[in-house]
Symmetry: C2
């Protein structure tokens, strides 16, 4: 029987292209596609799934949280993380969430096929550049578990608005809280994430899928 695969990525074109790529392997069958973490959970609840190719940066629930919840309800499903970034923290978080593989989009398409075959057999697969950044962290015990800065819902909201370019006062208006409270959330965010200014917070939010790189209704960035 063929391997029932779900593709999770917020870019439909990438999903379709990946589907074409995976179609080369008769043993693989893409049974569904998801554009967000919520959709992955819904699909897994509705039909049998063997393996999920999970993008990290997705709007709404991101790939890490989605993996955590997916495996809590469906321990048998294999998850392979698929991200544009080889960020060490992402890899650690995703492995901590229970994923069995992690490859970056900078790799060749064959890499994905190889990862799926490896993970299907119960082994763990990390592509070379990811493996290089992680090995050090895996060696020192504890870091894998210590490094999981869970954000609260409020912090996530504040982070998103910071990344959109709003000031503390504007964020306060939007969320109906005082600007001073927004400052506290920003400070806690920076402490939790070990980031030290708005540029880094913005990059983090974008890479994590908490904020898109450009606003959907962006009139234009130039004049």
């Amino acid at each position: 029987m063929s391997l029932r695969i779900v593709l999770a990525d917020d870019h439909q074109m990438f999903r379709h292209a990946l589907r074409a790529l995976l179609a080369r392997e008769p043993a693989f069958e893409v049974v569904a596609e998801a554009a967000s973490g919520e959709e992955v959970l819904a699909i897994a609840a509705a039909q049998p799934v063997d393996l999920v190719c999970m993008d990290i940066a997705m709007p709404g629930m991101n790939g890490i949280e989605a993996t955590r919840r997916l495996l809590a309800e469906n321990p048998g499903i294999r998850v392979i993380g698929l991200s544009a970034f080889a960020d060490r923290q992402f890899v650690l978080d995703l492995l901590d969430a229970g994923a069995r593989g992690y490859i970056t989009k900078a790799e060749a398409g064959d890499e994905l096929l190889r990862a799926i075959r490896t993970v299907r057999e119960g082994r763990i697969y990390l592509c070379p550049d990811v493996a290089a950044t992680v090995t050090g962290a895996l060696l020192d015990r504890g870091s894998l578990y210590a490094a999981t800065p869970r954000l609260t819902e409020r912090e996530r909201q504040v982070l998103q608005l910071i990344a959109e370019g709003l000031t503390s006062a504007q964020i306060g208006d939007r969320l109906h809280i005082a600007a001073s409270t927004v400052d506290v959330h920003r400070r806690n965010l920076m402490r939790k994430l070990d980031l030290h200014n708005i540029a880094e917070l913005t990059r983090y939010a974008i890479a994590r899928g908490i904020s898109p790189a450009t606003r959907p209704a962006d009139g234009g960035a130039a004049g």
Copy 2:
């Protein structure tokens, strides 16, 4: 004779997947792949090319500048912009550079095939969501040409370092100029791009490929 296509995107996996998608159409032949604007120019100089699927955000020379230079040397080549973002300014810039099509990665894979067929016949193709954001701008005359904020090399450098989270003083040290000079560059950047804070500059830099969403040697964003 089949249509000679070049795929330009900094993600090898996306290129390979797209190649698999385009292989369904016998009339299309992907003759080369490029990971940057420079590579596109080199390929076009070395072999005959009919059409380029050009990603906007690429490290080094981005898709807009690459399109401009490519068409300056090879007026016969058709270019289709392929971006994750439907940012109005990107579309206008790319069309101004001479591209004949623009589709977002949020669209279906079939959309790309349709775009290629349309552009091959000499027509212009914009996917629905892009068309919606652009029509208004195309109606008021002049905006298409007025809206082309070319950045100087120095401004690009400063923008990149701002997006990486450095302060003016740190940027000044890095570039061996005074912090006050960095301030001027930042001010000119914001005026040219109609952006008003560091978060927006950071988003712009990432979307434009001037700065990656995560630092290559990023040890980890959490502690």
